[in-house]
């Protein structure tokens, strides 16, 4: 191979990468988002559906975690962020682009999935869940579990606790739920990463935790409904504020949505919601965007996409095991869209 042919080859590679026509849409606008992996399945179906009517737009949603999304948006590296929780007070100063708006887009039930043969229905109260996950209760036939499950044949087996290895908004919401509903019992506090006891197992992503629960006898873990159903896991019915044991279904998550208090900036918590039929471990996630936009084309694309997420796309949610927003919240979010202005 002569020097000149190597050179030509190298130039061809470089040239190809710099000048190749865009295989995606032509001279259109691109919107980039990153953040919450909880909302990633919805973003995926929404983008696909949305593009059918807007072929000239390219929308990329990179996931990577709520923390990453908030950071990327604060640094103005993305156009919108998906986040399961709002910016912390301390981080507000680092937001470069001015006022941020929170648009809720879905409600998602987090299941407490388990793998115990012979037990098809399991009732758990928040206190029991807290004690299991912090390893105060170590065996399946413990008195506390038996008390909530009269008639169930609980085996004398060790409980294997599975949690997230990576930082996650799901962990944040799950631990926040236990903080509130099992106050005084739950010791590990809340955060995207918490200090789990050392004799537990960790998996990457909801999928990783689901894998552990599926393949380990006696395992229990918190997994979002979507991944739990995909892995064929059994989930527990959790006791809500009204004292009823409720299964994690999209209907129960919607019921939780009816019982929430929404702040003017559309922040709220669906965890431990009131109502007989509410599933108590229902979490919420927002898409965050700047109120002040500089590029008209991008602003129009952003508003159109947000509108789709909040309103027309909601019907896609139940197919992927998420719950739509209650109508009142949807209306408030639509109204907030008007605050996005091009300056």
């Amino acid at each position: 191979m002569s020097k000149s042919s190597i050179l030509t080859w190298a130039l061809a590679v470089v040239g190809l990468s710099l000048t190749a026509p865009r295989l995606a849409s032509a001279a259109g606008t691109t919107l980039n988002g990153s953040g919450s992996t909880l909302s990633k399945p919805y973003q995926e179906v929404a983008i696909e559906e949305f593009k059918k009517a807007h072929k000239e737009l390219t929308i990329n949603y990179g996931g990577g975690g709520s923390g990453k999304g908030r950071q990327d948006l604060a640094d103005m590296v993305v156009d919108f962020a998906g986040s399961d929780s709002p910016y912390k007070e301390a981080d507000m100063a680092k937001i470069k682009g001015g006022e941020v708006l929170y648009f809720p887009i879905l409600l998602g039930p987090i299941t407490v999935s388990y793998n115990v043969s012979g037990v098809d229905k399991l009732n758990l109260s928040p206190e029991t869940i807290a004690k299991i996950f912090q390893r105060d209760i170590k065996k399946w036939n413990d008195k506390a579990i038996a008390a909530e499950n009269a008639g169930a044949k609980l085996p004398d087996e060790d409980i294997v606790v599975a949690h997230r290895a990576d930082g996650s908004g799901t962990t944040q919401n799950f631990t926040e739920y236990l903080n509130g509903a099992a106050k005084g019992v739950w010791k590990l506090k809340s955060g995207s990463t918490v200090e789990w006891p050392s004799d537990t197992q960790a998996g990457q992503g909801n999928g990783g935790v689901a894998q552990i629960v599926k393949s380990t006898k006696g395992a229990i873990g918190y997994v979002d409904l979507s991944d739990a159903k995909a892995s064929g896991l059994k989930f527990a019915s959790v006791k809500n504020q009204a004292g009823k044991f409720v299964e994690p279904t999209t209907a129960a998550a919607s019921a939780a949505g009816d019982g929430i208090e929404v702040k003017p900036n559309l922040l709220f918590s669906a965890l431990n919601a009131k109502g007989d039929r509410s599933y108590p471990i229902t979490c919420q996630t927002w898409v965050i965007a700047y109120a002040k936009q500089t590029d008209k084309a991008k602003a129009d694309a952003l508003k159109a996409y947000l509108k789709f997420l909040v309103k027309d796309g909601q019907k896609l949610l139940s197919e992927i095991d998420y719950a739509p927003l209650p109508k009142s919240l949807e209306d408030k979010a639509m109204k907030q869209l008007e605050k996005i202005q091009v300056k």
């Binding site: 975690g65 923390g67 990576d166 809340s190």
Partner: protein
Amino acid sequence: MQALDLRGNKAYLDRAFRWSAAGAAALVLLILGLIAVTITGRSLPVFHEMGLKFFTTTRWSPPDALFGALPFIWGTAFTALIALLIAVPISLGMALFMTQVAPPPIRRPMVYLIDLLAGVPSVVFGLWGVLVLSQHFGLGRSFLTAGIILAIMIIPIITSLSREVIETTPPGDKEGALALGCTRWEMIGAAVIPHSAGGLVGAVMLGLGRAMGETIAAALVIGSALGQLTLHALSPGNSMPAVIANEWGEADTLHKSALIALAVTLFVITIVVNLIATAIVQRSMRRAQGL
């Protein structure tokens, strides 16, 4: 013989060529230096917060702003140790086989075998580890599984280097031993090993350095458990690179600084191991060539 001295333009171009080449060489030092400076700089916040207790605390609790690297340092060392325990006998056995036992027509396929093993990307080993290996033999995701995967990955480098070192054994020593009536194994023990010992140690240390730095394959199979300062190899554990890769996405500023501090620790440890190993191997090779 030197090139003739030049005048005028040609001299200028010649000098420019020399300086660009020197600049390219200096890049190595520049990049290494930049790495050291930038990551140390970004890790300072957590050291402000925790001081040197960062290295001795066993708890890792981001909500409490409490970061202790000890279990992860232990995990990195422990999995590397398991990897060495498995890889070294196999690599040495393979190197000795290739140089002392195998007849010449078998040697080339053996080289290809090692090349093939070295050519499989680490992420593919990780994929296989998490979806296949950890499901069998009761291994699960643990220090041991990570150690096995790491062993498979460092075998090629230890084998190749050992082979190079062993091949410098003077044939006279080997033939002398055989002439005195040694069996093949005794000859190896009498002539090959004493001569190569230093170089072999160096090769093993380079393998150690590589094992400690491996991120992705380890992250997938190590189990990501906290606080595991244990010798129980079948329990899930954690290592510095695995923690960094896992927790980076959701980390806030102080947490990120703690993760970067882990990277600094890893950097320093692997650099030191590599420095020592390189020095040993170079010295052994130079001695073998009679320099």
